[in-house]
Symmetry: C2
Subunit: 101 residues, 2 copies
């Protein structure tokens, strides 16, 4: 196993963490339907509180899974999946070439 494989694997941890939570998956699925949405709009369509939604949005913002468009006092969130998808593809490539026999 090369160091690069280890690095790629480790680098995926924040993404795996972000995607392993049903509340965050719900937000992603909601944004895939209607984009962009503000924190309040997301909270209205959820059974979680606005601060809880804000917390989950922060986690996803930090790994660049979401992007923000500020409009006056409102922040509109939309998906930004390309980078994360590329990360997963890279992991799959390395696993297939180094771990599967």
């Amino acid at each position: 196993m090369e160091q690069k494989a280890i690095d790629v694997f480790r680098a995926c941890i924040p993404l795996f963490n972000a995607l392993s939570d049903p509340a965050r998956q719900d937000i992603i699925l909601l944004l895939a339907e209607q984009e962009p949405l503000s924190v309040n709009e997301i909270a209205e369509q959820s059974n979680l509180s606005r601060p809880a939604i804000s917390h989950h949005l922060k986690i996803m913002r930090e790994i660049q899974l979401l992007q923000i468009e500020q409009k006056g006092t409102q922040r509109y969130y939309s998906l930004s999946l390309n980078q994360s998808v590329e990360q997963l593809k890279q992991l799959i490539d390395i696993v297939e070439s180094e771990c599967i026999f």
Copy 2:
């Protein structure tokens, strides 16, 4: 967003959970180097206790990320990554066809 996309997304949660832990990643990387290994052999090469290793192995066994070969009193663990890799590929396909514009 179709129901199938939601199902695939949800179905990946146990895998994301399993892969989001550094201790479990270490076990996977170790098995990618030397396979198969017993619980004791894995624990010897780790700084975690044997019961902790056993616990993490159980989590990975439950999602069929590992397979066991019993030899007398020992259980030899090896990777079984095909199914999980297919699951990730399926997720990527759906995200690319339904969520990326």
